[in-house]
Point group: D3
Chain length 341, copies 6
């Protein structure tokens, strides 16, 4: 199988620390040929640091170059996911786009449609799918240990975790707050356990009290006067088959833990908790609590990049697909709509 | 102040163990004059045990007797709350009725209206209102420690707590399952922190998988073939002022704890957890976790009976009122309706 | 089924506190008609206390009386198990004999042979067989959870638990020390998991250093000058199918825990620990630790007496049989022989 | 004292990471002059890495060279311990040989005899002898704190620790499995506390169920189809003075801990546990538990190499001697013989 | 030895619950012949309850009666210890007086002098001397384990333990606050470890902020307006041999623990903590922490009453003597004087 | 503001690891121009390591040079604090002097007077003032959370922490032992909470038993034969306003913890503990325990150096002033005097 040519769009931290190292590790399958950033100096510095041949500040120029990539890693800001992904697909590139898929349902749907018509892989970088705990959860579901899952509590809560850097509080750029940045991860995991169906009923509330009031931050200080997004979101999703998800996510909330990321999954045969992975079931007529004390840590970005390359190569993959991304984005939009009513 | 004359209707455990001892303890304010049960032998045995003068198997006979009571403790089955309470009010008695208020919203509303027109106290026995933790929660709310409460997670979960006795799985008698028996308690507490407003939007799901499948019980064994009610209920309530409640209740659920009864309360100034009572706020520019290690246990039934007598005597009282009971019953009905849609 | 008539031989604590209450609880199946003790005053006092009709100080007299019993509970000292059990069998009584079966292999073998020829039930009171943990261990073995068991570590250790009363340090009466009194229990459990086979090789060591030196006791003080038995015994048993048991038992040993009673069971599919019951296996390709947090306590003497009555009535029973007792006693004897070589 | 000249035979990990760094640290007493490995490239690479002058792929050539060593560190595979050690002794070198001494009792005995006749030091690298805990155990024994030791439980257990590299499952090369690789360490420590006497009775069982079945590994994956050695061994050793050792060792066993390496030592005055070091005794008429919270970690290989050099220089040393190695190897052989009977 | 005749003076709780039951338990040595209280009804009720023959409301009458006691238990209020003890001694009775000895140094000194001249036993009821922990501390001191003690930290602290009953806040009756009621106990223990010497230098501070401010009580509510004594006292005592004691005692202090009663003892060989008893020393060249996990609880009042009777019978006794009581009272007085300067 | 020129006097560890890195970090405000040490080689090596231009072995030469410094960091031995600080002030330099201020009260007083007359900043490097815990303690005091502080327990205890290097046991150089080296830190913090008043009464004891006896060290080994200072000091300080401090400090003491550095602060409204910072108060009529789980670690030397530069620049600063240093030294002297009486 010939090596695929990859290009990075967006020169931020996530390109530098996550995507490029993962691609480099997979050098038998993929070669990073170019990096493209609005700021050509940034692009060049990053290219030098990682020994990448080309740097661009204009993606179209890159597509026209001799080193036209086969696949794009889209690491731009949320509101640029759509234009850069569309352009890449138009240029017949596979795309691994950072999460969330887009900032509107319409965008994500169009992106999925173009990918389909172009017969290119469009995928989203929900790397938490690759944790050993989530892999084990899926195995337990597949083997019938859990029975049918009918309720999930999904949480991604921070006590005072409004980032003091980047654009996390800017609604135009981010498209939203805690839900768009954090909740989206855990919602993706929960949906994955329910065949990624579309809920038929959603009720949600969003808040911004702490974000607008300001105070002590645990991820740097934020500017309360520029806080435009929700700092907390609580939603109930009900599915056509009567399954349900309770989603709770926050940048800031007066709760004990600094960070609380978890799924509680309730099935007809057993329940499970994601972190640390535990099963609550029955055996020999008695109730059981089962722990898995020896799960091994893995590099989840590396695994997710592998999964994307597998998809590009037509192999089995658990990557978040363009279609899943479109469903997810539609749910997010409906959560915001419910909260605004 | 002359002593009030009390009569008990219903000769079960809750009369014997909770209400009569509490009334006896308050003998300066109240005298138990009669006990009334469908089964006259049961009534008489209970009367003898507690040195109560009269035993009846017909309430109307009691109302016509010389010892006509001033107040009734209604300890009958859920579906008899309505007829016996209505009859007591018609006979100009105050009523302390066991929870839930009734088995339909219409019943609870009529009960409240009759009490109002008769100018009698109708109250419900939600004794968890009297725990030192809930009292402290209310004090912290009143003093501004919490700021405005905007979200509450309310839980009354049992892992395998379908009672193996009584009528807990019979829908006709009970009116419902976990929500009607357990969730109602914690929902009452949550509503009490939000001025007992009516939510304008409700989305809920109910389940009966474990109840119908049977298995190991931790409160005796139940007959899975006669399981007619929900074993779990999850609901999201959204209020006109954008506050929200997430309610989770179960008789049976594949979760770790045998029993998990709690409120997590999120306010603009601080958050609080009910059990054990804890505050999560800020002080001197730093985040604080505050515990209250010396709360004293109290006899909550005694306190609730006192609160009822205070209401009868026209004094301040934190008892659950007829109006609150009507609101609560309406919410329960809407939760069931949402789940059935 | 007519009620069986039971008589107690031996008027000590274990009759008073364990056997008579259990029999009384099972009064639908059995009636205690007499109690027999060397000391007629003791016999009479016990009979009065428990409302038993007859008291004897001579067993033969009892067998000749009108109230001849159907079954005997033999609660005499270890060295009297043999004569009183033989006499009871000769008188066509079933016998539930206290542990250990006897003080020599020959005795236990003769007792089993006589019971067989008389077609009477002879059983031994190893009540630890009835703990919920051992029941669960057997279920897990039967269901294949454990696979084949190939090694067991069996422990009944006390740090300073030489009883300061009774005859526990008298070799003539007891037949031995820690092994005869404590180890016998846990060895019975271990053998029960290995089809109660006879080991073909045994190597053991016994000690009496602390017993003879004296010192601080945690179960009263003992007289070091009269200490005639082993205070500790360590044995390795190897079975024809290559399974093995490591047995450790002590009255006194310089170890941390005051009391340590446990089985560690190693099977081809999983391992298990008896107290608290835990499984160590594999699930979904990962190693698991499973706890059973809700085992209910039960009255193990009551269960064992039931099991004996079941056997007497020809029903299925997990009581320690006469044949098992004979095997057990032979193993004990071989352990002592190995230690003396 | 002139510096000794050392040569390493065997170019594996243990030479690279343990022995050479220890020798380098002791450069005032010893100089590493050569490294010898079957693979000359490996030898040279290692020599370069550690600035060692000479590299050989033939030991005899080394002995003939100008830089003939005074001492040899034998880091070859188990089945090469014998030939390379014999050849070194014949060339009048002291030898520090990796553990186990050899793969048969006969080999270890011959090695000891040649060393004696050549008046050279032959020692084995049981570096656990140098842990602060074992040093302290010996001090407590010497000072009488423990009294006489009469029973030792010695454990070196892994739950799933069959190494996924090297030759650990190859019987021809290794001579055995868990006992030869792991148990030998803890047995050496136990024997050291009992004057390194020879037991007069041994009973043992060995198993290979998990090793042959395969499954999840915690030290890489192993090839179940090539598993030729025991995965677990349980042995009871009885000594002429009635002391006893219970030895348990495993590569794979269904037990809770991933790794459990310990000695429980029972003496007439007190008991002790090795890890963490604790004493269980009596003081002022009361039972005591004593901890030693401030033991300092040390470099145990460095200490063991020092001990070897002390022996070479005729100074006092606690290194495992050739004679001890021969006893140890004979015990191992008898354990295997007992298990095979 | 003939039985001693005892009389109780003072009809409060401590007579009823502590002293009379202890004397009754020791009925082979002592007979309670009379009880004397200001309130004759109280005296008679107590006498009836405990089957004591005589009740008086006038001690002199009792001394003149036929049943003249041999010994007196003085359970009166602090300010009555002196007159009733003096009168008892004048009547040739031994006296066991409740703590503190008196409310002034002069009183305690006179009491000791009269006891000496009358050759009667005067003792004080410091029953904490009889705890197994303090007994063990003394044994460790006597055996040299501790070496010479040079510093003691003595604490009897309560967070909010101002009793809501009795006269604990009345200076005239009690003579002082936390020091007089609580600190006196632990100071007695500390002095007992230093040969009950008299310190030559004392520096102290006392406070009453919380007592006078009022607030939440954990031993009932107190009347802040009548709080006349110290709520906390901190003192440093320096002895002629350079030993020192740091004494801290409080009825109310803003500290974590509800109650903290302890001694930290620093000796030249080892340190010790009283509760739970622990030793911090050296063994085999390493630092040790030693616990005593099996100390048995005992009835300390019974032991102290025994100790008093032993003293009356001229036997060895560890009771607090009249001379020790005089020293203790003098120290207390000097502490108060230092705090007032 | 022009950059200040700094010079270091004393070439030891504290210059190399603490002061120079802090100054380098603050290079916008300060430039290190020279380093001066008795040993010119040491001075030069340090200068080279940190890229400092000049090295001297004579301070006067430095003052005469072109690069005359504006400020001096005095890192000399305790007994040289006085001469080098006086000389620096005479040369019109600001001085940050290591702790303790000096070895006598007279020295520290003269230093303060000269600094005042020269209008130069003289400050002492008590860097524990900058911990987030102490900053928070001061905020809680300032905001009234604590009310008035009336008692402080101040501890800096080591179990076996006599340093095995430097001059810590040499009285001439150090001026004292644990108090001079360790206690001085925690005393400075305590005084800071009490407006740095002078106590009017002091009682203290000092000891040297362990130091002179020798034994196991946890900070290297010390030479018991050269131990000239106190290994432990206990003092009680009483202030004119009746506040009090209990100070305990040790190099060596038979206590559990290896190191115990803390303040317990008792105020009229609440108490506080420094490490980890906790508040014990009242809220809503209940007692509270408040933790601050998210305090961030900071570089305390950097903060203290900043505070010193602020003082030099006439800005607000919480540095230990010359006047405070003089008070502190006077207290230390009085503690030693009290102990010697």
């Amino acid at each position: 199988m010939p090596r695929l040519k990859a290009a990075i769009i967006g020169g931020g931290n996530i390109a530098d620390k996550n995507h490029i190292p993962a691609l480099k590790e997979l050098s038998e399958q993929v070669e990073v040929v170019a990096i493209c950033s609005r700021d050509i100096h940034k692009a060049r510095a990053l290219a030098d640091k990682h020994s990448i041949a080309l740097a661009f500040d204009n993606a179209d120029e890159m597509y026209r170059s001799d080193s036209k990539p086969d696949l794009i890693i889209n690491c731009t800001a949320n509101n640029l996911h759509y234009p850069f992904t569309m352009r890449a697909l138009e240029n017949n590139c596979h795309v691994l786009c950072e999460k969330p898929p887009a900032i509107s349902s319409r965008e994500a749907r169009e992106m999925a449609e173009l990918a389909a018509s172009k017969e290119k892989v469009l995928a989203y970088n929900f790397q938490l799918r690759q944790t050993p705990e989530y892999t084990l959860m899926n195995k337990c579901l597949a083997s019938g240990q859990l029975g049918d899952i009918y309720h999930i509590k999904a949480r991604f809560l921070r006590r005072r975790g409004i980032p003091g850097w980047g654009n996390f509080t800017n609604k135009t750029i981010q498209g939203g707050g805690a839900l768009m940045d954090l909740g989206v991860h855990i919602l993706d995991l929960a949906l994955g356990l329910l065949d990624y169906r579309m809920p038929d009923k959603i009720l949600a509330n969003t808040y911004d009290f702490i974000g607008k009031a300001g105070g002590k931050g645990l991820m740097g200080s934020w500017d309360a006067s520029k806080f435009e997004v929700e700092d907390a979101c609580f939603a109930h999703l009900s599915f056509p088959n009567n399954a349900s998800i309770e989603l709770s996510t926050s940048f800031a909330l007066n709760t004990k833990e600094q960070k609380n990321v978890n799924l509680e999954v309730f099935g007809t045969n057993a329940g499970a908790v994601l972190n640390p992975f535990s099963l609550y079931g029955e055996l020999a007529g008695e109730l059981t609590d089962t722990e898995f004390p020896y799960l091994e840590e893995i590099d989840i970005q590396l695994q997710n990049t592998k999964a994307f390359l597998n998809a590009c190569n037509g192999q089995e993959s658990n990557i978040c697909t363009a279609e899943q991304g479109a469903i997810l984005q539609e749910i997010i939009e409906k959560i915001y709509q419910s909260a605004e009513m």
